[in-house]
């Protein structure tokens, strides 16, 4: 479908953001000395990131360190309580502005009502990366497709492009480039409707994410996401985690088309009552 809405101001704010980030955030991960990733079959000399990948942590429950706690549904008991996690945020602190810190608490208190994941909405970036579902990287020299199992969400990373998004989006507008063996993705044009986790961590439509995917070995990528949102945070901050290849010989993405799992929740009050 043609989209005619134009967006402005992206270029200038991105440039400012990059400058700020280079001072505020610790150096990014580098490929370990001695490891050289296999090259892309497109013979462009770039590392080959193709594969099915998955995080193995509890960041989707809470990107910050957290102890295990009882889950929200009494009947589910130990089967759906919250597993502990060391957290994935550098320094374990998210620099919220005061109003935003209050809103985060409110989000957490009303998690089931407010979390877009519960409604099967597209999860946004970086959350899609560390949800407990695999995703597949399909890498060509011009387009890198990230296909996520959750909600059949996906996004295309346009390589070496300066195109601007024609509209705000759930999954962001992704522009990629290579820095050595690291795939760097600049993501903007978010609609502000997505969250970072089930603990109520959130952002606005001013979110700007810089992701870095660095191959550490054949089966491990180091993932970093630098988060900048001047409407919500006092400074940029960073999260990082390894992503693991799904090495099963028959690994493939299956469907998690969750819309039908939430229709009763969302539309149940509109069902015709039987007398």
């Amino acid at each position: 479908m043609h989209i005619r809405i134009r967006r402005t101001i992206v270029g200038a704010s991105a440039a400012v953001a990059l400058t700020v980030l280079s001072f505020a955030v610790a150096p990014a991960a580098q490929a370990p000395a001695g490891y050289k990733a296999p090259r892309s079959p497109f013979k462009d000399g770039k590392p080959d990131l193709n594969g099915i990948w998955q995080a193995n942590n509890t960041a989707n429950w809470d990107i910050q360190g957290h102890a295990a706690r009882q889950g929200p549904v009494l009947e589910l008991g130990a089967a759906f309580s919250v597993p502990a996690g060391l957290g994935v945020v550098e320094g374990d602190e998210i620099p919220y502005q005061p109003w935003a810190a209050a809103k985060k608490k409110e989000n957490a208190a009303n998690w089931l009502k407010l979390d877009p994941e519960v409604k099967c909405y597209m999860p946004g970036v970086p959350r899609a990366t560390y949800m407990p579902y695999p995703f597949q990287i399909v890498q060509t020299p011009t387009h890198v497709l990230m296909a996520y199992e959750f909600a059949s969400a996906s996004r295309t990373i346009y390589m070496n492009s300066k195109d601007e998004s024609p509209a705000d989006t759930w999954m962001g507008w992704s522009l990629g480039r290579w820095e050595g063996d690291t795939l760097v993705v600049d993501v903007n044009a978010f609609n502000g409707e997505t969250w970072f986790d089930r603990a109520g961590n959130f952002h606005s439509e001013a979110l700007h994410v810089v992701e870095r995917y660095t191959p550490l070995s054949r089966d491990v990528l180091q993932y970093e996401a630098t988060i900048e949102d001047p409407k919500v945070f006092t400074r940029p901050w960073k999260m990082s985690m390894p992503l693991y290849r799904r090495v099963e010989k028959n690994a493939q993405l299956l469907e998690y088309k969750c819309v039908e799992f939430v229709e009763e929740l969302m539309y149940g009050h509109l069902r015709k009552k039987t007398k």
């Binding site: 479908m1 497109f42 497709l145 024609p166 759930w170 299956l254 469907e255 069902r271």
Partner: protein, 323 residues
């Protein structure tokens, strides 16, 4: 946003009928004039990559008035395109102020159905059986179709998968909007990105067997292989509820993708479901290259249509009780 009504193609059928009277039948030559292209990926597979549109005004089934006419002449095709443009135009103002005028302008703003017949000028997308029409349903298929047609607005479960923003499913068929598809290839995979309800369909190219028969999916389970320059994709494991034109979970879908020139991938699919259709049938659709991009289509996230439709039905019931 979700718009679900397909405009009846009466006007097109009439135009096609006129066109048919105007000239003699032309033999199907499209396969003979194709040029074999040597586009290859760096690892030697035929290259199908790009963004492709299947928007077309060619009807799915051949209008009965055309009988055994399989291909239009260039003049007939032009006439049909002219008639279509004059008919489906949001700037038309005849009947100004009527509901019909309002609906036409509103709907045409959203619709993006294309303005051309397919490049092969075939008279229908269905090419086998030779009459260009979907074969009759079996008795069981007919029974299910009748049940489906009787569904109303009691709940979302009565509405189509498309309306519910679950998926447009398979096979790929032209619709009123979101007709673009992007094909990407890596060694071992062909990936088709569907703009309609954002499906990234990943087709492994290997000899691995299909997944276990207990795993049923909206898109089934696909395996692809190259037969010469044609990608042949075999899909089974459909969920019963994925139903295409009433098909069951026994549906076996066979698709063939052939790059016939720089601008065109020929997409053919065969529907094999003996419990639903009295015989197999095949459709052939030229996918045309486009410079457009695939955009995010957040269907479920913005499905006000479902809320409005159900609450409208409840309001109508309440009003009827009050009478």
């Amino acid at each position: 946003m979700a718009i679900f009504e397909r405009r009846p193609s009466n006007v097109l059928a009439a135009a096609l009928a006129l066109a048919a009277l105007a000239s003699a039948s032309v033999a199907s030559q499209s396969r003979n004039v194709e040029t074999r292209t040597a586009a290859r990926t760096p690892w030697g597979d035929p290259d199908l990559q790009g963004v492709w549109s299947i928007a077309t005004i060619t009807p799915f089934e051949r209008p009965r008035a055309l009988a055994d006419k399989q291909v239009l002449t260039a003049e007939e095709a032009e006439e049909i395109e002219r008639t279509n443009l004059a008919t489906n135009n949001q700037d038309r103002r005849d009947g100004a102020g009527t509901d019909a005028d309002l609906a036409r302008a509103y709907n045409d703003f959203w619709w993006d159905r294309g303005t051309k017949v397919v490049s092969t000028r075939q008279t229908s997308l269905v090419v086998d059986p030779p009459d260009g029409r979907v074969p009759a349903l079996t008795a069981e298929g007919q029974k299910r179709a009748t049940e489906r047609a009787a569904r109303g607005y009691d709940s979302w479960e009565d509405r189509s998968l498309w309306e519910r923003c679950i998926t447009r499913g398979l096979p790929m068929i032209p619709g009123p909007y979101n007709n673009n598809y992007q094909i990407l290839q890596t060694p071992g995979y062909v990936v088709i990105l569907h703009e309609m309800i954002h499906d990234a369909r990943i087709i492994p190219l290997d000899t691995q067997p299909h997944i276990g028969k207990n795993i049923r999916q909206w898109f089934g389970d696909s395996r692809g292989k190259w037969e010469g320059d044609t990608l042949v994709v075999d899909t089974t494991n459909f969920a019963d509820k994925a139903s295409y034109r009433g098909s069951t979970d026994g549906l076996h879908l066979i698709e063939r993708f052939t790059r016939i020139n720089a601008e065109t991938v020929r997409y053919e699919f065969t529907i094999d479901d003996p419990t639903t259709f009295t015989k197999r049938w095949t459709t052939s659709i030229p996918m045309q290259h486009t410079d457009e991009q695939i955009y995010e289509y957040a269907c479920h996230e913005g499905n006000y249509g479902m809320v409005n439709l159900l609450s409208g039905a409840r309001a109508q019931e309440k009003a009827a009780e009050g009478k």
